[in-house]
Amino acid sequence: MTHRKYILDLTLTAVEQLNERCALLRATDPTAPLPPMQAGQFAQLRVDNSPHAFLRRPISIHNVDRERNEVWFLVQIVGKGTKGLAQMKCHERLNAVLPLGNGFTLPERQTERVLLVGGGVGVAPLLLLGKQLSERGVRPTFLLGARSEKDLLQTEHFRHYGDLHVSTEDGSLGERGFVTQHPLMHEAHFDRVYVCGPKPMMVAVAHWAKSGNIWCEVSLENRMACGIGACLCCVEDTSEGHVCVCTEGPVFNIEQLKWQI
């Protein structure tokens, strides 16, 4: 799958602080309609306001609003680069290379029962996935996990496209504990599962999917330099050897990975 990639000077139309660690950036291309983008694909964002962040930062496409010609990014501060991005102001310029990587594989039949599991900022690509599923007539189930209620992101938006279940580690909202302890994982049946979040969570869900013989795709967040398959820095060990997460992924079927599950 190859899609044309662009270097775009986007303009921020809104920056919303969702909690003390997360910001929602909405950006538009003032000159042209944004290119086609698939859920699971990402952008390489340039960090202009932090001299110490040298390389671009890979950030998932969170949502695409065609009416407003906007692309949304959900950024969680973990270091200098994400801090620089989260502190940007409305009307500032955001230079992005996009769309990069391969998106999630959408179901073939409308009747498939689809579960989307997200943890922390890993929920980012699942909003666009939910939207693209609902456009195909599939109503997914979302299971979103976070440390506590204030860390749950964009729940109102998710509810728009499917049934929303949540779990928090401290029990402040939804079920207490990790997503894999949620009753949904044991009571309901699914044909497909898509997962994005911290690695231990993805491994746990992948284990659950594998033991239940359920088709499962995960989205990896390996460290990247180029984001376009040129430097070979971002490799994951797979059944086909070292492959670039930025071009062969970031979405992988769990059967391709060498995880101990």
């Binding site: 662009y6 110490h52 040298f54 390996n222 070979l232 820095c233 971002c234 490799v235």
Partner: protein, 302 residues
């Protein structure tokens, strides 16, 4: 428009801007951003006789003004290159140069000979700064004898333009440059990455899988510029300068120091279209200062 053409030991370049090995893939990765035929040349990924898996992840760590990598020459081997990649490149009208690596002089020579059969590849760049198992882990590029042994073997097996890429991790780069010139190298390119390391203080662990890696990006530029200047004054063959170039001004500095052409590496990650901007910027510089040809500024800075 100034005349940007330059040449490397008879190899004619449309302009002095090439891309550095390992940072530009096989060129096709950048097709959406750069009209490849407008580049002076493309130096493709390090290629070895046999396929290599490279080092484990993580292979990259960001540092102040640069980055460290320990990719470890992951590639599918020269046969795969000849059969599957070369056919995709052969009709693109630019100079494709293959960066060749190996574990022993014989490996280098055999790999170079295979590449020599490919009509549309006018030159190779020998990477003599990768670990050498036969010499007990020492790199060919860090001793005069090691460098000589590889260049001697390859020169016998390869008749086209032979560029030797020098390692900066040496006490006296001039001695190595002279040694490879004596063995028949047509040109030298420098610098490869500088050995470095990164540690995560919070997690109290190293950030690269094998501990150390090669430093590239603007952080290395002053070192690279110094070495290019020293080598250009000491050898009679053309010098290709690289290390930390992100702008046309950087590229001009290397030309002034004595480089006949430049390569751009890490900067491609920051701006995938940087090469085209540098080419335009060199032209603007020449016009602004009244030069009609880029050759007029090569080595101007004594």
């Amino acid at each position: 428009m100034a005349n940007l053409t330059t040449d490397i030991a008879g190899l004619r370049l449309r302009n002095p801007v090439m891309t550095a090995s390992g940072t530009f893939g096989y060129g096709t990765e950048y097709e959406d951003f750069v009209p490849l035929e407008q580049l002076g040349g493309i130096i493709v990924k390090g290629t070895t006789l046999h396929p290599r898996q490279g080092n484990p992840y993580p292979r990259m760590a960001e540092t102040e003004g640069g980055m460290l990598n320990c990719v470890g020459l992951q590639n599918r081997g020269v046969d795969y290159f000849c059969q599957h990649i070369y056919p995709q490149l052969r009709d693109i009208p630019t100079n494709f140069i293959v960066n060749v690596s190996g574990n022993a002089p014989e490996d280098y020579a055999e790999c170079a000979a295979r590449i020599g059969e490919l009509e549309a590849i006018p030159a190779i760049e020998l990477n003599i700064s990768c670990p050498n198992v036969k010499h007990g882990g020492m790199a060919f590029g860090t001793t005069v004898e090691g460098a000589q042994s590889v260049v001697r073997a390859v020169r016998k097996a390869y008749g086209k333009t032979l560029i030797v890429k020098l390692s900066p991790n040496v006490t006296d780069i001039v001695a190595i440059a002279k040694a490879v010139e004596d063995e028949g190298a047509d040109a030298v390119s420098l610098i490869n990455t500088l050995m470095g390391m990164a540690i995560d203080a919070e997690k109290r662990c190293r950030l690269l899988s094998i501990g150390t890696g090669g430093l590239s990006g603007p952080a290395v530029k002053p070192v690279a510029l110094r070495m290019v200047w020293q080598v250009a004054h000491a050898v009679g063959i053309p010098v290709i300068g690289l290390g930390g170039i992100v702008s046309a001004t950087d590229a001009v500095e290397f030309l002034l120091a004595g480089a006949s052409a430049v390569e751009i590496g890490t900067a491609n990650f920051l701006d995938p279209a940087v090469t085209i901007k540098v080419i335009q910027g060199i032209n603007d510089y020449l016009e602004r200062h009244g030069f009609t040809s880029v050759k007029e500024i090569i080595g101007l800075c004594e």
